[in-house]
């Protein structure tokens, strides 16, 4: 049962990711991204990381992809405007990607793992909280600042400044 679920989710993830890459329409690509993310969330659940799956869907499907869709609609780029790939780009990408795949796969074959995982209970919400607010308190603070910067940045980049901002 579990392995069936795994293969389903893995297929969903990879197939939809491939569709993101090759789809001509940006809106469709964003849609496939969502489905792919659902697959990833499923993989997370199988790893006993239900919380991560939840957060992933919330943040990505709920916010990031929604943002993407919003921007795509806003910019109204004509669908199907994708030009055919140049031969050179195609070859370079294929070779580069194939090398990458072969490299990563061979890497895993050379680094053999024993099949057994460590016996640990599925982490609870409390466990995450404990980690985040003791060991990783400093990164949490830093990430907070990063979000602030990002917010300010988006404002600066998007707001209209009709008049010179301040006296000089």
């Amino acid at each position: 049962m579990a392995d069936l679920l795994f293969y389903t989710f893995a297929f969903l993830t990879l197939a939809c990711a491939a569709l993101v890459v090759i789809n001509k329409n940006a809106v469709n690509a964003a849609m496939f991204l969502i489905v792919s993310l659902v697959g990833v969330a499923g993989l997370f659940v199988l790893l006993d990381a239900a919380l991560l799956a939840f957060v992933l869907l919330l943040v990505y499907a709920g916010a990031v992809v929604a943002l993407f869709l919003f921007i795509i609609m806003l910019l109204d780029t004509t669908p199907g405007a994708m030009k055919p790939f140049k031969a050179a780009t195609m070859i370079a990408s294929t070779v580069g990607g194939a090398l990458l795949v072969v490299g990563v796969l061979s890497l895993y074959h050379r680094a053999q793992f024993p099949a057994a995982a460590a016996p640990v209970a599925a982490p609870t919400l409390k466990a995450y909280a404990e980690q985040l607010f003791t060991t990783y308190l400093l990164p949490v603070q830093v990430v907070g600042f990063m979000l602030l910067i990002a917010m300010l940045g988006v404002i600066v980049l998007s707001k209209k400044f009709a008049v010179p901002e301040d006296v000089s």
Partner: protein
């Protein structure tokens, strides 16, 4: 996890140890508050406030106020406070102060809001300081990404200019790509290390630098970990603009506003090298057999590429970018040497300081010479500079001379230290490449001096109708700052004592 262990971990959160960073972050927040609180007419004082806090922190750091934590790890192993970390803090603080100075020249020419710029600058500097002291891959990545996100915004800050946005987009795509690659490397390392640490019965964390180093000591031939290390180094190579990750440099340097270009050239590059030194010397040192050829090939390619592509540049910002690539190559030479010659790490920092002084002097001149069109600054705009503004001409000569490594100036001492280190490390062929690079670099740096000093350089014929406009006269702050930078560059060439004893160059 019991309450006691949690308590024990929480106890290691020594906030006082990162007081400078916190102070910076708080003053960054204070800037935003001030913008709301102060009436509009008073907004011009906000940059002064940023200046003042930074200067205070800089003085405190130089005074060694926060050095009591040196050699300790805090935050449960997230940070390690070392002498080098302290050096990095001072470096980033100084660089940030000077970028503030450049911003006061350049920002008023645009319609962009200023307070946010200083806010981001301060926050990014704080993150840079944490990055240089991080001892844990989670902390490392989070700090690095904070810096990167800050830079995405800063690079595209002059958004009225399409070139700036284009630069921002290029930096964003390539930066995110390098982050993703680096992240994958970190994950691989965690996978390789964490497993063994658990099997050995320890509770070590697969992200900690010490654990990774221990693991690599025991398994220097672990394929997964080696691949992870190389991917991480690839991400770092992007930051320092080493070959083949230098593609973004000329475009981004040209398009970004001049203060940001300076910030990228100095702080971002130095951060890359601070991280690279930590990783190569402390974490990945057991992988020497792989690292030495990779690093030295990268250094050679970087030197060759940087110098050759800078040869034909007429745009000064691209020139600074591509010559900066070659400087990264010389520094990589130092890093490679540091694997076998311990004092070379100090030499790298010495070089970075001389690079900071010289680059900032040159960028200061560029900020005055560059008019409203920030990205289109060409060599011919410098014609008659030495006659019209002898002061700027002098500063430019000192700065460019130091970058070229011309002897009485600080840059030469930096190169000398690196070359001696390389010789001691038996990197002969690499040294030959570096020497060739220096000779080539003389050509294009000399071209810049030529543009500013040697008149009637162009062949006889009809002169262009409109001569280059005379750049604005520097304010007294500008005069003082640029004089200080130039004098420091000259004096450091003759007398290195304060810096060498502080860097413990042995």
């Amino acid at each position: 996890m019991t309450t006691q262990t949690l308590q024990a971990i929480a106890d290691t959160n020594e906030w006082w140890a990162i007081a400078p960073e916190m102070l910076l972050a708080c003053s960054a927040l204070a800037l935003l508050v001030l913008e709301i609180v102060l009436p509009r007419a008073q907004h011009r004082f906000i940059p002064h406030f940023a200046f003042a806090t930074q200067a205070t922190i800089f003085i405190l750091l130089v005074g060694g106020v926060y050095s009591e934590y040196e050699g300790l790890t805090t935050f449960g192993g997230l940070l390690q406070h070392s002498a080098t970390g302290h050096v990095a803090r001072v470096f980033f603080m100084l660089s940030s102060l000077l970028v503030c100075f450049l911003a006061t020249i350049c920002l008023p020419r645009t319609k962009m809001p200023r307070v946010e710029f200083y806010h981001i600058l301060l926050a990014v500097t704080a993150a840079l300081m944490l990055l240089a002291q991080s001892n844990h891959f989670v902390m490392f990545f989070v700090a690095l990404e904070t810096v990167t996100v800050g830079f995405y915004i800063l690079v595209s800050y002059g958004r009225e200019n399409a070139l700036t946005l284009e630069a921002g987009l290029k930096y964003l795509v390539l930066g995110a790509l390098s982050s993703a690659i680096m992240l994958f490397g970190i994950v691989l390392l965690y996978g390789a290390v964490g497993r063994v640490a658990t099997f050995a019965g320890g509770v070590h964390n697969g992200f900690e630098f010490g654990t990774v180093a221990n693991f690599l000591h025991q398994h220097p031939d672990n394929f997964l970990a080696t691949a992870g290390a190389l991917l991480v180094l690839g991400g770092v190579a992007f930051k320092i603009g080493a070959f083949p990750f230098q593609v973004w440099i000329p475009d981004v340097y040209q398009g970004a506003p001049t203060p940001v270009t300076a910030f990228l050239a100095v702080s971002s590059k130095a951060a890359g090298f601070a991280v690279l030194l930590t990783l190569v010397l402390n974490v990945f040192s057991p992988l020497q057999a792989v690292l030495v050829p990779v690093l030295s090939l990268m250094a050679a390619a970087t030197i060759i590429f940087g110098n050759l592509s800078a040869l034909t540049q007429r745009n000064t910002k691209r020139l600074m970018g591509l010559s900066g690539v070659s400087h990264a190559g010389y520094l990589l030479l130092g890093v490679t040497a540091a694997l076998t010659v311990p004092w070379a790490a100090g030499a790298v920092w010495f070089y970075l300081f001389t690079y900071l002084l010289a680059s900032m002097a040159v960028f200061g001149v560029m900020a005055y010479v560059g008019g409203p069109d920030d990205a289109g600054q060409e060599l011919q705009h410098y014609e008659y500079l030495a006659r019209n503004r002898p002061f700027l001409g002098g500063v430019l000569a000192v700065g460019v001379g130091s970058l070229a490594g011309i002897p009485p100036l600080a840059g030469f001492m930096g190169k000398l230290l690196l070359f001696v280190a390389a010789f001691q490390a038996h990197l002969y062929w690499l040294l030959a490449v570096a020497v060739g690079g220096v000779v080539v670099s003389i050509y294009y740096y000399f071209g810049w001096i030529k543009a500013a000093y040697f008149e009637s350089w162009r062949p006889p014929g009809p002169k262009p109708e409109a001569p280059a406009p005379v750049p604005a006269a520097p304010s007294w702050v500008g005069v003082v700052t640029l004089t200080a930078l130039a004098l420091a560059t000259v004096l450091l060439g003759f007398y290195q004592e304060p810096l060498t004893s502080w860097l413990q160059l042995k």
